[in-house]
């Protein structure tokens, strides 16, 4: 029985392997060899050198540079590690030599040498590190390069008399590692803070030593007197740095909140610490006992661990972006028929700038060229191109598509339409949602203080024992330290942040989860959020054979119009052919000639003006989003470009709609109304909204009584709304390292986890409640002993760590279990 079973298993495994081999071979034959440099598939007439295949001349170029400098090891460490060289001219980086920019990028600047810091997103493997650290072999004026793999930063030490920063940047981009230059990033990393680690180290050191010195007390009560005193003083000495340095933050914060007449969790912590220190000092100096130094140090150490655990920063992800991150640092200014790169913020009203294909327009202005096509999808969400004529107003944020345009500056960068979006919203503080811990802590503090006062009054007035009164008073404060309260949120949040990271959901901070539980309105953006950024092509009329497909592929691969690019993605270029004629007519289409036959690709209306359309065409063919392909004087086929809705989006929305009100706001035209109308309530669907109207919509929702709004969106057009909402969720595609300011960053393919996030946030609250219950049990036990005057240092020294560790273990394990249960175990997908 067992044999048969395992035999079958073997067979299945064999078949599987065979299939894999066949698939691999198929791939090798159809797509041919991967590029030796970057691993992309090579075309049939690819470039070859030294028996290596390259997909393009850019890759070959990098290969030649590396080989010329005997850096061939780059290809031995990893297979196909490179990225094709970027075609940027030296002039494009010259602005880097401007003193203003040098100041930003240089970390160190002396007579001979300077150290520059660049952020390079392309760093991805060991080969990258090796090549960058061996840059000095290519250019001797570069002295040393240090790579920080996790933050993708490189520190370049160079001889500034012989090489300029712009030349280094150009060299990097030639090698396929273009630095990402924005002022925003520099400011963000300006200060690295070691304070948390140092505090933890100091507290740990003191805690360990104090524990050692206190150990004799735990085991026997008759430690020789001289040792008792010696250990006591040493303990006190070691506790001082813990109290004044490691625990400084809690003391300071509670002082601030007292001043503002507002009770937060730091007040009972600070009270407990002060009670611990003063009682210990009194006991030790007056030779009454060993004091509570061990408990104090242990308490602070655990608090610091909790804080360290909760603080998790995601390198490469930024939750607070402003407009500076979007804009290029420099642009080309035309002056006396000469183009030179100038920093964007130095542009003056009246200057003329030159913006090329795929470059971002940094300022508001007037078009000076005859025509320009602008892609505003990033700003408005509208995916169709906008054509502008000479003299028309142009707003910042669009991308020029096709022919380069010259634009006269009308407003400076800081005053552009787009920048004002940030300035308006950013002045408002996000409404701070009261976290559970903050709600409970005033009750906790007041209860503890009143119990302490009551026991003090009891022993003073009834027992007439002032010493006992003081003793119980301090005991209550000591034992009721809110370890559990403070540790609960840090450990639950820390665990959740780490677990969610594995699912590619990134939280700005842990209390976002508590905020999520209060959300009752969920607002969706359409383009880029419910739909993927690449549209889908579907054949709606006629058919196309393989040879025609290749001709179409050859035509569209030469065009930069977004529709052509989408077609190009659907029909990969396999056999390059030589088109004898190629003519792109803006706004209409492309006419091409091959083997003395005419081919036309373009809008249906344009094609219909050229030839007679056959009868029986479907109705929706007249829509703007259709593109026709004609061979000779015959219509071959018609494609429709559709917004590619993400898989299962209806399911996601309807699951959220069960418990929340759902809204859809989009900058796009109404063409998808029929599709979204099935899922969203009709009154909550809004099309054609500009970024400001989106902000206004969120504001309007928030004004109605206890309405908390979650906004989920992507791109620049939603950034205002994301900041304005109570919880902003930014969706990012795999390959972009850009996201607008938000509270949660979500990988696009994980958008299906959004409904589960709400259950997770409720689960987080339940964990917090349960953990509070645990701490209540410990506290009531401790307080009972304290009131009866039986509290001993040894008991406190045991109770405190035990309660802290229980809470730590409970929260960590239950978060892990719940996270697995709710999100499933698909983290390795």
């Amino acid at each position: 029985m067992f044999y048969k079973y395992s035999h079958e298993g073997m067979q299945i495994a064999c078949v599987h392997i065979n299939l894999n081999i066949i698939q691999m071979q198929l791939r090798r034959f159809t797509i041919s060899t991967p590029c030796f440099h970057c691993g992309l598939p090579c075309l049939k007439d690819s470039v070859t050198k030294d028996e290596h295949h390259f997909c393009c001349h850019g890759c070959l170029f990098v290969f030649e540079i590396l080989q010329g400098n005997s850096l061939h090891k780059y290809y031995e460490l990893e297979k196909s590690p490179g990225k094709p060289a970027t075609e940027k001219s030296k002039e494009e980086y010259t602005y880097l030599d401007d003193a203003k920019f040098l100041e930003h990028f240089l970390k160190f600047n002396e007579q001979q040498t300077a150290i520059a810091c660049f952020y390079i997103p392309n760093i991805h493997c060991a080969s990258c590190i090796w090549l960058l650290e061996n840059l000095y072999r290519i250019n001797a004026h570069i002295k040393k390069v240090d790579v920080n793999f996790s933050s993708h930063e490189v520190y370049i030490t160079y001889d500034k008399q012989n090489i300029r920063l712009s030349e280094i940047a150009h060299l990097l981009s030639q090698l396929g590692y273009p630095p990402h230059l924005s002022l925003d990033h520099e400011q963000q990393n300006a200060q690295k803070n070691h304070d948390d680690l140092l505090r933890l180290g100091v507290a740990g050191f003191c805690f360990g030593n104090v524990m050692l010195l206190s150990f004799p007390e735990y085991l026997s009560s008759d430690v020789p007197k001289e040792f008792q005193r010696f250990f006591g003083y040493l303990n006190l000495l070691l506790t001082i740095p813990v109290f004044f340095y490691a625990a400084k933050e809690w003391l300071y914060s509670s002082w601030i909140s007292l001043k503002q007449k507002n009770i937060n969790l730091d007040i009972p912590i600070a009270l407990g610490l002060i009670a611990l220190l003063s009682t210990s000092a009194f006991d030790i100096i007056s030779k009454r006992g060993p004091g509570y130094c061990d408990s104090l140090c242990g308490f602070v150490f655990f608090l610091l661990i909790g804080k360290f655990f909760q603080k998790k920063t995601f390198q490469n992800l930024s939750f607070d972006r402003d407009y500076k991150a979007y804009f290029p640092l420099s642009t080309l200014r035309i002056q006396d028929n000469d183009k030179c790169a100038v920093p964007v913020h130095e542009l003056q009203v009246g200057d003329t700038i030159f913006v090329r294909h795929q470059e971002l327009i940094p300022v508001d202005g007037k078009l000076q060229s005859d025509h320009a096509q602008i892609d505003y999808s990033f700003v408005t969400g509208e995916s169709d191109l906008i054509a502008k004529d000479k003299g028309q107003d142009i707003f910042a944020g669009g991308r020029i598509v096709g022919k380069a345009a010259s634009i006269q500056v009308e407003k400076q960068v800081e005053q552009s339409f787009l920048t004002s979006l940030w300035k308006n919203v950013q002045n408002k503080e996000k409404s701070a949602v009261q976290t559970l811990t903050n709600t409970i802590s005033p009750f906790f503090t007041l209860t503890v203080i009143s119990i302490a006062l009551a026991s003090f009054a009891y022993y003073w007035l009834y027992g007439k024992n002032i010493a006992m009164a003081w003793y119980t008073f301090s005991s209550v404060l000591i034992v009721a330290c809110p370890c559990a309260l403070a540790l609960t949120s840090s450990f639950t949040h820390g665990a959740m942040i780490r677990l969610l990271e594995k699912h590619r959901i990134f939280l700005k901070s842990g209390d976002i989860l508590e905020k999520l539980a209060k959300i009752n309105n969920v607002v969706f953006d359409k383009t880029g959020t419910l739909t993927s950024t690449t549209p889908r092509i579907s054949l709606i009329f006629g058919n196309i054979d393989e040879q025609q497909q290749q001709i179409l592929a050859n035509i569209v691969h030469q065009s930069i119009h977004p529709v052509s690019q989408t077609l190009a993605k659907t029909f990969p270029l396999l056999t390059p052919i030589h088109l004898t004629e190629f003519n792109e007519i803006p706004g209409k289409g492309i006419a091409a000639k091959y083997n003395s036959q005419d081919f036309f690709v373009g809008s249906v209306s344009w094609i219909s003006s050229l030839l007679e359309l056959p009868k029986g065409l479907p109705q929706k063919i007249s829509q703007q989003s259709c593109v026709a392909f004609a061979v000779g004087n015959k219509l071959c086929c018609v494609f429709a470009t559709e917004n590619n809705f993400r898989r299962g989006w209806e399911n996601i929305v309807s699951r959220i709609a069960q418990k929340h009100a759902v809204h859809l706001i989009s900058g796009d035209s109404k063409r998808d109304l029929d599709i979204v109308g099935k899922v969203f309530p009709k009154n909550n669907i809004h099309f054609n909204l500009d970024p400001f109207q989106k902000v206004a919509y969120i504001e309007k929702l928030q004004k109605s009584a206890d309405s908390k709004v979650l906004m989920i969106g992507d791109g620049l057009n939603d950034s205002g709304a994301l900041i304005e909402s109570d919880v902003g969720v930014a969706v990012i595609e795999e390959n972009s390292h850009f996201s607008p300011a938000s509270d949660i960053i979500l990988a696009a393919e994980k958008i299906s986890l959004l409904p589960k996030m709400f259950s997770l946030s409720r689960a987080t609250l339940n964990i917090t409640y349960a953990s509070f219950a645990i701490s209540c049990i410990y506290n009531s036990l401790g307080i009972t002993l304290a009131i009866s005057g039986k509290l001993t240092p040894v008991f406190v020294a045991v109770l405190m760590p035990v309660s802290s560790v229980t809470v730590m273990l409970f929260t960590t394990f239950s978060s892990r279990r719940l996270c697995k249960k709710i999100l499933g175990d698909d983290k390795w997908e």
Partner: protein
């Protein structure tokens, strides 16, 4: 037993040296990047 006082003083001052070493290492940025050196060591 008098030797205990000396021994404890010596051990604590030794431990303090390690603490100072830790503080120096942190401040000089040795804990800033824990990933790159792990990869670099495998290259050569």
């Amino acid at each position: 037993m008098g030797v205990m006082f000396i021994l404890i003083c010596v051990s604590i001052s030794l431990a303090t040296c390690f603490l100072l070493a830790f503080i120096w290492a942190t401040k000089s940025g040795q804990f800033d990047d824990c990933e790159t050196p792990a990869i670099k060591v495998l290259i050569d």
